[in-house]
């Protein structure tokens, strides 16, 4: 056996997409073991939630997955609604679906873009980010914030769509699929990107299930599991959409699936905008201070990274007794040692990027 070298990457490193430290054991240039060390962004949100009212927790959930804040908002609100037995008006459900699908696009643009940056295709990152900027602007028109929306609230959403928003949104979805085709040619048609991504970090379907992977990470390996279709929530059963699946489970499939998911999201948004009826956007007669009956509730949604769940325990007081966030990025990141073994150090970066972790959510 040759001598092993230990290399430390991070916690502040341009290729770790956040504050992750990876301790890599190398044999020459080949990774024999890669151990992610997380927790550099552990902010104690679960502990903080125990001293806030149910409504005051919503802004905290924004800060979990900061690339896709709407998801954590929604998952948390669903758990609260389940616990307190709140019925959400139909228009609010539609608006939630629309904003969350827009959020999926915004989040995937970041994921695909950084895959591009990792493989040396920085132009693709710029193109993807331009699309993300459109979505961020739509959100800004909707609730005034570019990143931390605090928009989905227990019982509905904080405010109705502003005037002219639907048209803006339609204009976005009209141009987005063609932009995605362009991005597909630009990034995934590129010889260099293909060479860097294909066959790198292969995840088998069995491993994906056993390790609790979800979202594009699992679907890239052909695991046909999408909560929007398989455990339908909200108004998703009313829409017609496909769940893109990968075949090889390599970084290429994981990254490319995100692109097709964006196109599917556009379809869902268009259908939802067609079916949107006027009505209430927030349940009526909600108490100012929610104090659900004692018990526990769990609900999950399909976020851009996978199944994002929130587990809430109530003891009858206006504050949650315990909140736990089941974070998809945390479970997906646990796969890194498995995937990176046997690849070169430069491929490790690509593999980490293809898992698309967001450390606010990994560390909570």
């Amino acid at each position: 056996m040759t001598e092993q070298t230990i290399v430390n990457i991070g916690p502040s490193h341009p290729s770790t997409h956040g504050v992750c430290r990876v301790v890599v054991t190398l044999d020459g240039e080949i990774v024999t073991h890669a151990e992610p060390i997380i927790g550099h962004l552990h902010r104690g949100i679960e502990k903080m939630a125990e001293n806030r009212t149910y409504l005051q927790v919503v802004p905290l959930t924004d800060r979990l997955d900061y690339v896709g804040s709407m998801y954590a908002n929604w998952a948390y609100c669903r758990a609260v609604e389940r616990l307190a037995g709140i019925r959400v008006p139909e228009r609010a459900e539609y608006i939630r679906v629309i904003v969350c699908e827009l959020q999926r696009i915004a989040s995937h643009m970041m994921g695909i873009g950084s895959t591009g940056a990792d493989t040396g295709a920085f132009t693709a990152f710029m193109y993807a980010f331009a699309q993300r900027d459109h979505v961020v602007e739509l959100f800004e028109a909707l609730c005034g914030a570019r990143l931390t929306y605090n928009y989905v609230r227990p019982g509905g959403v904080s405010m109705d769509l502003p005037e002219g928003w639907v048209e803006q949104c339609r204009a976005f979805t009209a141009q987005h699929p063609s932009a995605m085709l362009e991005l597909d040619r630009l990034l995934f048609g590129n010889v260099i990107a293909r060479a860097r991504l294909k066959g790198v970090g292969v995840l088998s379907a069995d491993d994906a299930v056993a390790w609790g992977a979800s979202g594009p990470t699992a679907r890239g390996s052909g695991v046909d599991w999408d909560l929007r279709r398989d455990d339908p929530y909200s108004v998703y059963p009313r829409f017609d959409f496909q769940v893109p699946l990968g075949e090889n489970g390599d970084s290429y499939d994981r990254a490319r699936i995100r692109l097709w998911e964006c196109v599917e999201s556009c379809k869902i948004i268009d259908q939802a905008l067609d079916q949107l009826e006027p009505g209430l956007v927030k349940a009526e007669g909600l108490p100012r201070l929610l104090a659900p009956r004692p018990g526990d509730a769990y609900d999950h949604i399909e976020s851009a990274r996978g199944s994002l769940g929130v587990y809430l325990v109530s003891d009858g007081t206006p504050r949650p007794y315990r909140m736990k966030v089941r974070s998809p990025a945390f479970c997906n990141l646990a796969l890194l040692p498995l995937l990176a073994e046997g690849h070169t150090l430069s491929d490790l970066v690509v593999i980490l990027g293809s898992l698309d972790p967001v450390f606010g959510e990994v560390d909570r």
Binding site: I38, G39, H42, G44, E46, K47, N51, R52, T53, R82, L83, V209, A210, W211, G212, V223, W225, D230, D231, L289, G295, D296, A297, Y298, H300, S307, G309, Y311, V313, P318, Y321, R322, K324, R326, F330, C331, A334, D363, R364
Partner: protein, 153 residues
Amino acid sequence: MNINELREHLCSEYPDLCPLFSVEFGDGVLVVEAKRLHDAASDLRDLGFDRLGMVTAVDTGDEFELVYRLQSREMHAGIFVKARVPRDTASIASVTDLWPAANWQEREVYDLFGITFEGHPDLRRILLTDDWVGHPLRKDYEDDRIIRRPDYI
């Protein structure tokens, strides 16, 4: 498959698990004794619950309640398995041998609650630094660096 079918299924295949099964807020809940947790989990896995969604714990005062959420892709159903362990000897069998997904999740519970998992291959702190004192999600965790939020309600 809905909850009632799940219950029937469970009762026919594993009659001894049936009395432990209840439904809360639309979710199936199985409350088992701590020493039977591993057996129950492996039975459920054989039944088709192939995904371990989440492992967490709740500090209920004198005991810790461990909560596992399992999911079955085939049955389109999820189930909670709960077990209680006493606070002073907080320890339970690890399920890493059944689902490798439990590896990091159990480390997290160990880190934040101080519950040990027997048979875990690599039980270390995961989120906090190695020299951290105490387990912050315990209700009696004391830390003078915490500033309590003033009460407004």
